[in-house]
Amino acid sequence: MARQALTDVNLSIDEGDLVAIIGKTGSGKSTLVQHFNGLLKPDSGRVLVDGQDIWGKGVALRDIRRKVGLVFQYPEHQLFEETVALDIAFAPKNLGLSDAQVDDAVREAMRIVDLDYEEFADRSPFELSGGQKRRVAIAGVIAMCPKVLILDEPTAGMDPRGREDVLGEIQALHEKHGYTIVLVSHSMEDVARFAKRLVVMEAGKVVMDGDPREVFRHRQELIDIGLGVPQITDLMAELARRGYGFSTGAITVEEAREILLPPLLAASIESTGSAGPDPCEGRCGHGLR
C-alpha cells in the first residue's frame, strides 16, 4: 500500500450533529479520526476543535482528548483493570478528578451504556460477554464526559443483538445526552438509519458529503468506490428497473414499507374483493394484512 496518508481532506463537523464517515478499507477513515483528538499530528494542515488549533501554542492535548472522546475499533481489547468500575475510572482519574467525582463519572457512564452498577461494578471485565465488554470500553471513554464522541466501527464483529444494543446507545447518547457523534462504519444499513450526515472517503479524499438520502442516490458511484447502498435501496431500485412505479428514495426498511404497503394492499383488495388469504397463515405478526 502506498504510504501517502490522507491528502486534502476538508471537513467541518457541526456541534450536535450525527455524522457517519464511510469508505472502504484503507480509504483513511481511521487515520482521519485519529487526527481529531491529536493522536496523530498532521505534517501540514490544521485541526480545529471549538475554533482552536489543537497543535497551537498553549493548547493542552489532554484537554482536547477529553473534549473529543475516541472509541477505537474493538475497544474491549484495551481493558486492563481488575474490575469494571476501575477500568472505567481510568480516564477520569487521568484527568485528575477527585475520588468522589471519579465515582460519579463511573456511575453516570455505566448508566448511559445501560450497565447496572450494582451488578457489574466489581466484576472483572475479562469475564463479561463480548457485547458487555464493548459497552464497558465505551463507558471508559464516556466517563470523560466528552462533547464529541468518535466511534470507529463500534459494531464490528458483534452479533445482531449486540449491534442493536450498541447502536441504540449511540442514538441515545446523541438524542438524550446531546453528544456530537462521529461514526466510522462499513455498514450502509447502520448509517442509513442513524446518520444525519454522510461523509464518503476515498483514497484520503472526501468524495461525497451530505444528507444520507442524497448520498445514497449516487448508487453506481458508491459501488464503483467499493461501497454500496443499503440493501433495501437496492431492492427499490430493482423494482423500479422492472417497471414498478414506486419512488426509489427509501434507505430504511421502514421507509420502504411506507411506500410499498399501500399499493400492495390496494392491489390485493382489488383482485379478490377482500384482503385475500394470509400469506403467512397466521405464523407471524408483521402485519402484512
Binding site: M1, R3, A5, G26, G28, T31, Q34, N37, L39, L40, R62, R65, R66, G69, L70, F72, P75, H77, Q78, L79, F80, F90, A91, N94, L95, F126, G140, V141, M144
Partner: protein, 270 residues
C-alpha cells in the same frame, strides 16, 4: 497508511534480512552459521593485534561478496556504540601500566589503550561476522539451519524442532505485536494516559494499561495460532517433510574447509 510509533521499531527489529542473490545469499544457512561461529571463536582465542587483521580478512571478503551495502553493516554496529565506548574508556583508565596522561586521580595507560583498542576491534568484528549472516539469510532459512544443526542433540533430549518453531513464530509475531502495542497505546492516550512524564516509578506504572491488554491479546493469538496449526495437521517435527530441503553444495564444502582451516591456522599460530 500504517504510520505510527510501532512501525519504526518493527523495521529496526526485523529489517535485518536484505534479500539478494549473491554468493553469500545462496550458501546453505548452516555453512554461514558454522563459519561465522568459527571466526567468532577465533576472535576470542587470539590476542595479537595483527591476528585480528588476519581474522578480519574473511569477514571483509564475506561482506564484499554479499553485495550488502556497507551502510547496513555500520548500522548494525550502532546499537553497540555505547558499550564499545564504555569498555574502551574503562580499559584506558582502569588498567594499570605506564601512564600517558592523567586527569586528577584518573590515569590513562598504554596497556589500557592497547587492551581497549583490542576489545573494541574484537567487538566490532564479532558483530560484523554475525550480522553478515543475518543480513544474507532469511529468518526462515536461519531457523531451518538452526534446527538441522541442533538435530544431533535431539537424542540428548534437546527439543531442536520445537526451538526452531518457537523462533520462527516469535519472528513472525514481532511486527504484529508492535502494531498492537501502538494501537493500545493510542487507545489509552485517548483516555488521557500519559507515558512521557513523571519519575521512573510513575512511568513503570503507566505501562500496566499497555502490558495487560498486550498479554491478553498475545495469549489469544497464541491460542488461535495453535488451533490454526492443528487444523492444518501440525503434530510436531516427527516425520514432517519439507518443501525446501537443505543441502550442502560444492561451494558450501569449499567455504567450510577453506575458512575453517584458515581460522584454525590463525588461532593456532598466534
Amino acid at each position: 497508511m500504517k504510520e505510527g510509533v510501532g512501525m519504526d521499531f518493527a523495521n529496526a527489529a526485523v529489517g535485518q534480512y536484505m534479500p539478494g542473490d549473491s554468493f553469500m545469499h545462496r550458501l546453505d544457512p548452516r555453512t554461514k552459521m558454522l563459519t561465522s561461529l568459527g571466526v567468532v571463536i577465533g576472535l576470542f582465542v587470539v590476542s595479537e593485534p595483527w591476528a585480528y587483521a588476519l581474522l578480519a580478512l574473511p569477514i571483509m571478503l564475506g561482506i564484499m561478496v554479499s553485495q550488502v551495502p556497507l551502510k547496513l553493516i555500520t548500522r548494525s554496529l550502532r546499537p553497540l556504540t555505547f558499550i564499545m565506548v564504555l569498555t574502551f574508556a574503562l580499559h584506558l583508565f582502569m588498567d594499570p601500566g605506564e601512564a600517558i596522561f592523567s586527569i586528577g586521580r584518573i590515569t590513562a595507560t598504554y596497556e589500557g589503550l592497547r587492551l581497549g583498542l583490542i576489545t573494541v576491534v574484537r567487538l566490532a568484528l564479532l558483530i560484523m561476522a554475525t550480522s553478515i549472516v543475518t543480513l544474507t539469510t532469511s529468518p526462515i532459512a536461519l531457523t531451518d539451519g538452526l534446527e538441522r544443526l541442533l538435530k544431533p542433540f535431539a537424542r540428548l533430549g534437546l527439543p531442536a524442532h520445537e526451538l526452531a518453531m518457537m523462533m520462527t513464530i516469535a519472528l513472525r509475531f514481532i511486527p504484529t505485536l508492535l502494531e498492537e502495542t501502538d494501537k493500545i497505546m493510542k487507545a489509552q492516550m485517548a483516555r488521557g494516559a500519559d507515558f512521557e512524564s513523571g519519575n521512573i516509578a510513575k512511568r513503570a506504572r503507566a505501562m500496566v494499561p499497555i502490558l495487560v491488554p498486550l498479554f491478553v491479546s498475545a495469549f489469544r493469538r497464541a491460542d488461535e495460532l495453535a488451533v490454526a496449526m492443528e487444523a492444518r495437521c501440525y503434530r510436531g517435527g516427527e516425520g514432517r517433510t519439507r518443501l525446501r530441503e537443505l543441502a550442502f553444495s560444492g561451494a558450501d564444502v569449499a567455504v567450510l574447509v577453506v575458512v575453517g582451516a584458515y581460522t584454525v591456522a590463525v588461532a593456532v599460530a598466534l
